[in-house]
Amino acid sequence: MEKKLVVSSSPHLRAPETIQSIMFDVLTALFPAALAGVLLFGYSALITILLATFTAMLTEALVLRTRNIIGDGSAAVTGLLLALTLPPAPPWWLVVFGSVVAILIGKHVFGGLGSNLFNPALVGRAVLTVSWAGHMTAWAAPLDGVSAATPLAGGSASMLEMFTGTIPGSIGETSAAALLLGALWLFYKGLISWHIPVSYIATVFVMGAIQAGAGFAGPAEMLSQGLFHVLAGGLLLAAFFMATDMVTSPVTREGQVIFGAGIGIITMAIRFYGGYPEGVTFAILLMNGATPLIDNLTVPTKFGEVKA
């Protein structure tokens, strides 16, 4: 009896949550957006999603030299996220290349899970955007597949269309409704807090409205311009699923607010003045790079530090 007693350090209770359960919850949260993408853009979207996800998982398993292709689930999340940022019908090699880059360069060059400075899916997307701008902006109108321009690139869209997602755009970014549904799940599961999404979205909204205001628009026009910038492009997908990536965002609440606001400002600067109509990817990557600095600046005041 005595022999088999286990001695380990306290605490002897552990919360049920694990990395794997977190990744699984994120995948669940992405499901509505993925489904919306398939419904809107069809068969090619489905293939793209499966291909990107599978390639990411396989690459990770190869790097880690394991037969366990599911692993902790983080590679699947990266692959799926990347797919959701791609246009509806990219060539297969583009998808594969992006996925491999995301896992290899985005993640394992830095030391693997938890050590990567930049969001791996966005690293993949950024490389693709820079290398094959044409393929990466081959938008098609949903449901009929005719090529079309996105709202940010001057295409027309009503607010309702932007909400349901029946607008041209990347596979997983067009349907605000599906994204919000997934975001609710993340909130419910405690996997994201309001700090990053709200500070990001609020900054974008305010800057969009101010820009309209600077052009002598009335209050109604300012409101709708603000809202337009929030619903357009990959902003909601980014705000709830990319910017909130735990590994690449600050750990403290104050840091997260600074981070979100920073992404908002850079996103809008790119949208207003930059060469790309969409600024989300580079905005987040830049702020990812600033995360260690933000973490250093927002070390919490320890208990008992003040008023001796």
């Binding site: 007693l5 306290s10 002897h12 694990t18 735990m246 008992g304 008023k307």
Partner: protein, 438 residues
């Protein structure tokens, strides 16, 4: 809204197995091993020799040092051995082993004191020291030391800590329920020592029955019972004070720095028994519980009784028992043997089974921030943990490893199952050792 502190976790209560069970007397032990070090501070020197006859309540060990308390025999009988015994919280230590004659004859030194009104504060303090009373919540800091603040630190608040925030444990719960007047009396004795007009008792709001019983016992007394939001570690001294009066005990400081003294509910009862009846600290309530015990119970156990005997009385260990913890599941220590004596700080004997005992694979930190969120002292466990893991003691120090109260919240919550508390404790120990050398 109930008062509380920053951070903390909700690991679940697990108290229902014993919360409804009245305190029962443990079987009288045939022999006891009274450890000479049951408190923080200088160990006792044995006052008896092998062959000596001793009686219940007789002092068998004491020390000249200020930060120390004497130890007493909990049985009458004969000293049969002076030898080292495994210690619940430290290295093996000397113990006076006494074989009981089963008579439980009281020692002459045990006699009732005059009523509280006739005792001076110093009298009470002396009674408390002589009774060997040390914090019974588990920290076992000598109580009289806490009651001796330097004159420049006046005390204006005395709090009895009845939080019992550790899951599984119900010893204080039952004690407060069954002897609320003793808790109130103990508090009044403390107030008298410190010259404080009003005292407080803090209880977590998952024990409404205690709150009610204490309120009733406190009627007409200058004592207020407050209930707190149930959250671990509500009972941590500095967190309790903060929730109580918003005062932050300075880093590295003591509760007396903010004019506050906190004593555990069990300690208050021990003080009441010492002041009223002159009975030293001879026994304590131990919650014997967990899925690995056949018949969980709250037992009144004589100090020095073997843990194995106490477990045996509760039906023994189940076949699948894997871990024996003295204390609660968050801060208690896992033991490799049950052949060790119960000491003044043994609040619980918790036995976990194969089902609860997992050997977790340590995964990389995913920077989820949960550990920072739950840390009651607002330090960054992820940074200190990694610094310790990789061997950067300076970084661990810069991120305030020494402020850690070792509550276990960070390890509990970490999805990557990183042993953060363990790492931080390690760094903390090294930093403190280094500071001492300087």
């Amino acid at each position: 809204m109930a008062k509380t502190f920053k951070g903390g976790v909700h690991p679940g209560h697990f108290k229902s197995a014993t919360a409804g069970k009245p305190i029962a007397d443990a079987n009288p032990p045939a022999r006891v091993a009274v450890l000479m070090q049951q408190h923080i501070g200088a160990p006792c020197e044995p006052l008896v020799e092998v062959g000596d006859a001793v009686k219940v309540g007789q002092k068998v060990g004491d020390s000249q040092a200020f930060v120390s308390v004497p130890a007493h025999s909990s049985v009458s009988g004969k000293v049969v051995e002076l030898r080292d015994y495994p210690h619940p919280v430290g290295r093996p230590a000397r113990a006076v082993v006494i074989e009981s004659d089963g008579q439980d004859t009281w020692h002459e030194s045990v006699k009732a004191n005059p009523p509280l009104e006739e005792l001076s504060g110093d009298d009470i303090k002396k009674i408390i020291r002589e009774a060997g009373i040390a914090g019974m919540g588990g920290a076992t800091f000598p109580t009289h030391v806490k009651l001796s603040p330097p004159p420049e630190k006046p005390i204006d608040t005395v709090i009895i800590n009845g939080s019992e925030c550790e899951p599984f444990l119900t010893a204080d719960h039952r004690l407060m329920l069954e002897r609320p007047e003793a808790v109130v009396f103990g508090l009044k004795a403390l107030m008298k020592v410190l010259g404080v007009e009003k005292g407080y008792i803090g209880v977590e709001d998952n024990k409404p029955d205690c709150v009610e019983a204490l309120k009733k016992a406190a009627e007409g007394e200058p004592v207020e019972v407050k209930s707190f939001h149930t959250k671990y570690p509500q009972g941590a001294e500095k967190q309790l004070i903060y929730a109580f009066n918003g005062r932050e005990v300075p880093s590295g400081g003591l509760p007396m720095d903010v004019g506050t003294v906190v004593q555990n509910a069990g300690t208050a009862v021990a003080i009441a028994d010492a002041v009223r009846k002159g009975v030293p600290l001879l026994e304590r309530i131990v919650t014997v519980t967990g899925p690995g015990v056949e018949a969980p119970a709250n037992l009144r156990v004589k100090i020095g009784t073997m843990v194995s005997e106490v477990i045996a009385q509760c039906g023994g260990l189940k076949e699948n028992a894997r871990k024996v913890i003295l204390g609660g599941p968050m801060m208690g220590l896992a033991q490799n043997t049950t052949e060790m004596p119960v000491i003044k700080g043994t609040s619980g004997i918790l036995v976990l089974t194969d089902k609860e005992v997992h050997i977790h694979e340590i995964q990389p930190c995913i920077r989820c921030g949960r550990c920072v969120e739950v840390c009651p002292v607002s330090i960054m466990p992820l940074v200190i943990g990694s610094a310790t893991e990789k061997g950067y003691p300076d970084k661990a120090e810069a991120y305030h490893a020494v402020d850690c109260i070792e509550c276990g919240c960070c390890s509990y919550i970490c999805p990557a199952k990183r042993p953060l508390t363990q790492w931080i404790r390690l760094s903390k120990g090294e930093i403190l050792a280094k500071a001492k050398k300087k």
